[in-house]
């Protein structure tokens, strides 16, 4: 029974860390000034937060054999989140109305862009 209590405590700590990072990510999406910096908050802090939540769920259902599936889902998030963020950033750059609001000292995508 002591091992069971320890497992529930670890579940609570990891889930709390994940929830706090999700809250930080949402506040970053609300408060940051630009679409690109908002992607910065949505891409990394949200991935860390949902990894914590899924890891705690896998630890809670470890006797039912769900830990491996949750680790596979975390790996799926770690693969798909950079792809989604990169394609969103490229789309936001090529969308002309948001490009005018950009404050950059050096524009790296201008040389590689084929449309200009």
């Amino acid at each position: 029974m002591a091992g069971d209590t320890l497992r529930l405590g670890v579940v609570l700590v990891v889930a709390t860390i994940g929830t706090v990072f999700m809250l930080i990510s949402a506040v970053g999406v609300l408060r940051l000034p630009d679409a690109y910096t908002r992607m910065h908050a949505a891409g990394k802090a949200a991935t860390l937060g949902v990894s914590g939540l899924l890891l705690s769920t896998g630890l809670f259902f470890i006797h039912e054999g769900q830990l491996l599936r949750m680790i596979a889902l975390i790996a799926l998030f770690f693969v798909t989140s950079p792809i989604a963020t990169t394609s969103m950033a490229r789309a936001a750059y090529r969308h002309r109305r948001s490009r005018r609001r950009l404050q950059l000292r050096h524009d790296e995508m201008r040389e590689s862009s084929t449309e200009e």
């Binding site: 609570l12 999700m22 609300l30 889902l73 798909t80």
Partner: protein, 97 residues
């Protein structure tokens, strides 16, 4: 008796975490409502999809049914596909003004 108190504390704490995650989801919806243009709304949509997976996981803990995790997997894949679809649409759309 001690076991029961611990179980009660665990359930209350999971309820608190779900409440915090719901507040954070409402914050994402504020960005979805006020976003000045379509790229900001796409970012808000991506964050909302990730939050949905988190709420799925916590609710599976709360109701002790791990069948709900299948829904979490499907929601994760659909959120990724939706985000990539919105990005493609933005990239292909004719530029305004």
């Amino acid at each position: 008796m001690n076991e029961e108190i611990l179980n009660e504390f665990f359930l209350r704490w999971i309820h608190l975490l779900i409440a915090i995650l719901s507040i954070s989801l409402v914050i994402c919806f504020v960005r979805l409502y006020r976003g000045p243009d379509v790229p900001n709304r796409t970012v808000a949509f991506d964050t909302i999809a990730v939050h949905t997976v988190g709420i799925f996981a916590l609710f599976a803990i709360l109701s002790r049914t791990f069948t709900l995790l299948e829904g979490a997997i499907v929601t994760a894949v659909l959120g990724f596909l939706g985000t990539v679809m919105f990005a493609r649409y933005l990239e292909r759309s004719p530029e305004e003004e």
